[in-house]
Amino acid sequence: MSQFKVLKSLVIDSLDTITKGSIKYHIWMGGLTLVMLIGMYCYFIQLDEGLSVTGMSDSVSWGLYISNFTFLVGVAAAAVMLVMPTYILKDIDFKQAVLIGEGLAVAALIMCLAFVVADMGGPSVLWHMIPGIGVFNFPNSMLTWDVIVLNVYLFINISIPFYILFRHYQGKEAMKKVYVPGAILSVFWAVAIHLVTAFLYQGLQARPFWNNALLGPRFLASAFAAGPALIILVLAVIRSFTAFRIEDRTIKKIALIVTVAAQINLIMLVSELFKEFYAPTHHSESAYYLFFGLHGKNALLPWIWTAIPLNVLATIMLTFGKLRNNLKVLYFCCFILFVAIWIEKGFGLIVPGFIPGPYGKIVEYLPTGIEIGVTLGIWALGAFVFTILAKTAIGIELGELRYKDKNSSAS
């Protein structure tokens, strides 16, 4: 019973924390709310008129939503890059960052689920997917695997930090034997969520652009570059706006992870490009379309030719220790790497999978305003959720939030 009382107090305290803050904080949250409302409005239009308000068509049947979903699964998986050394390798440097990382994973997963729901033609019958009530096509459909692994990952990533924070909130140490098994599990699970998401595409013999063995590993590499890059940026913001202490060493260690992952990603990209262009078959049409355009259709060229140079530039700069250890340069590199991988995994991966279509017909895809509105709204939702989680976590970690046992003080 007393645990419930602590929980109640925690909820009240955290509500108190997240509603108070500096003017900047209020502007930030207000801005996010506004974007979320705009996103909701766009979503209502989409519900009303149908998905025809998006840029998608029978030919390109997945677009911005699924692109973002794919990318964010990677971001969520990347939290593991922090969990692993902290809990398992006992590298103390990351301890500060790991709560932030896991909070980021939770926010990313919530965004993933929101993107999937936004992409559905019939969100009102989504209950058909709930095992028991509906019909769950497991194990045949990779989408059901994805639903399972994502939700379990969400659960793990909520419960571990919650347990730690809940203990800290009461001024107690978190017990290692409780959370370390969960942490180890989450390491494997993070790989699983991203691999399964890759299999979602990789398993389609209809789409040769996706149907290659490198897709899964490349997903992992790019995720482990983009995710920690985002974490670095977030840590930088937290460092400058809160009293939460994050050491340079921590950030530099994460930067090392980003660097290695970005290098591996680049090697895989080269391997893929070699295969597509050295001995091109008709299966290389999508790659041709992506990089050079096909039959005069070249909507993706600006995107991919933004992403590739950014990616290469960031990787090269990160490779040099001198540049990497300069925090200003590091932040810049992380930012351009993040953008590059977002483009590569969205416009560079999902969309060209559909172009050309099964019979070689080219229908191009560009997102509409409504689609962009919904997307921004969901990103704002993610940022909003993350801010709330991070603010509470930081409050507890800094000792500002502590459970005060009213019974003991009264007696």
Binding site: S57, S59, K361, I362, V363, E364
Partner: protein
Amino acid sequence: MKNKNLTYYFLILLAVSFFSCKKEGEYHSITDKIEAESKPYHGKLTSDELLAGSELMEITEGKHTFLILERKGQIKSFACIECHSKPVTQMKSLDGQKAHWDIKMNHANSEIINCATCHNGKDMNNLNSLTGKNIDFNLSYKLCAQCHSSQFEDWKGGAHGKKVAGWAPPRASMTCVNCHNPHSPGYETRWPVQFNTQKGIERKEGLDH
């Protein structure tokens, strides 16, 4: 030691059976399935009802026995001898209204084919084979088969031509003259019945491609 090996074998067996028995009763390919489950259909679905309104007759050609549409009843001016009371040569010399003014021969060329190739000037009620034998109007396909033997083979089997009703037995096929005008058997060029304007918009194409 031995026990351990056994366990491994068992596990491998289990894994193999798991992957190979993905679905029960599944055939390696669709042709295997067709071969294995092949069996003449005598189910409750028939085309009898659909065929009820049509005059049909059964024919047997080679191994195939099936129904075709009766023809004579469909020819407006049958029987021909009602007009063709005299041989054609005599009728041609007569003054007055010409019959069959609408018939334009566009079938091979005049060196190979003329009216008399198929019509018997002395017995207009029947058709005329190349060897001068009578062919009933109802069995006009025999006439076509004299030259178009490969089409005839396909037609007998069902690869050429259309069915009168549905897929369900009994099989009732249209004959050559149900689709082809024997005097001008080719198909004309014409415009497609529809044009999809949305598809063009989607692909950002002009109409003039």
